[in-house]
């Protein structure tokens, strides 16, 4: 059949209507997130500390539990699930050798050798990423949290080169199509922005513990490293703990109890 120009225009108009209708699809969406919006009262009872820190009971960390914590973190923060080497990581698991490459742990016990260690941003006391960031998009809060201001990130990736822990990921593409568990109350990111774990600063602000700590069910102690009576100091007092790559000189605030 031969198409006349008139028919083509009609078809184009109908197609344009269809595309337009597709764009309006979100208008009728029902609430997806069960949690109510945080109120001013919630923010008034936010948690405060001099220096936030974390102690991980690595013996309690099974691959399943790490996966549970990872899912909790990634669905809370709209971390996209991109296959391949463009993936975004806020919380992930790795072997002893990958986690502590400077420990040279030859002849390790079977248990430790095959253990998976949960890794996340170490929220270092002297963070390399903050030193090298040219726009101060990544900065350290007075309470020790190394934060990202996504608005200021220009995507130069100096921080990724500076971080000795590989804790930062770059958005090579628009992450929105890859978000599986969506939390409408937390922003997504855009292409060309570096992102990482923020120690759940937005949860601490409403008086909640970080979502991985909550999901771990006691396998992660979290609290104020400056307070002798905090959970994290109690855990560190009673157990032997190591930090990742001490010779990098960044002093991580995340401790691993072996």
């Amino acid at each position: 059949m031969k198409n006349t120009r008139r028919e083509f225009l009609k078809l184009a108009a109908v197609s344009a209507l269809g595309v337009g209708a597709g764009r309006l699809g979100f208008l009728g969406d029902a609430p997806a997130h069960a949690g109510a919006l945080p109120t001013v009262a919630n923010f008034e009872e936010g948690l405060k500390a001099k220096h936030w820190g974390m102690a991980i009971f690595s013996a309690k960390m099974t691959p399943e539990l790490i996966e549970k914590c990872r899912t909790a973190c990634h669905s809370e923060h709209n971390v996209p699930d991109i296959p391949g080497n463009k993936n975004i990581k806020w919380f992930w698991g790795a072997s002893y050798e990958e986690s502590f490459p400077t420990e040279h742990g030859h002849y390790l016990s079977e248990d430790v050798e095959h253990r998976q260690f949960p890794l996340l941003c170490n929220q270092c006391e002297t963070p390399m990423c903050v030193k090298v960031c040219p726009t101060q998009a990544t900065f350290q809060r007075p309470d020790g949290i190394v934060m990202m201001d996504f608005h200021r990130c220009i995507g130069c990736r100096y921080c990724m080169a500076g971080c000795p822990f590989g804790a930062r990921s770059f958005n090579f593409q628009d992450p929105r199509p890859f978000i599986k568990h969506f939390n409408p109350q937390f922003p997504t990111r855009m292409r060309g922005v570096v992102e990482k774990c923020n120690f759940c600063a937005e949860r601490l602000a409403v008086g909640k513990l970080p979502s991985c700590v909550e999901a771990a069910g006691g396998a992660i102690a979290f609290g104020d490293l400056a307070d002798e009576n905090s959970d994290v100091r109690k855990a560190l007092r009673e157990h032997f703990a190591i930090r990742r790559k001490p010779d990098a000189g960044t002093s991580p605030s995340v401790y691993y109890i072996l």
């Binding site: 997806a32 001013v40 922003p187 997504t188």
Partner: protein, 138 residues
Amino acid sequence: MYNAKYIIPGIIFFLALIFVPVAYNMGKNFEVKPELPKDQKDCIEDAQTMRDKHMQILNEWRNEAVRDGNRIYVNAKGQKYVKSLTNTCMSCHADKAKFCDRCHETVGVAPYCWDCHNLTPNQKTPIPLAAMSEAGGH
């Protein structure tokens, strides 16, 4: 002057050309009517302040909330609000197309807030940039 018979008409033609839009819009009424939320009467500040300064307020909010961890806004009347574009602004102004876009499109600004911030705290899925390129592109 050399070539005055070409240059002077040329300048006049050029001036006429650049003032065509000014002349075209002279005397026309500039009016935008964004759709206001039906279940709310007051915004965080009065309408005139919001019209003039919402961009400055949002800019201050983002710096204070992200960088200083100060997430509560106290308005001129002493009422408190959470500093959040999606959870505070967009939970009242649920329809971006009928509120934000009407003005932004008329004055020809394309803020890229929605590349990351969600349209409402109730939406089910993130809206990919491709569908937003007209409204939120930059």
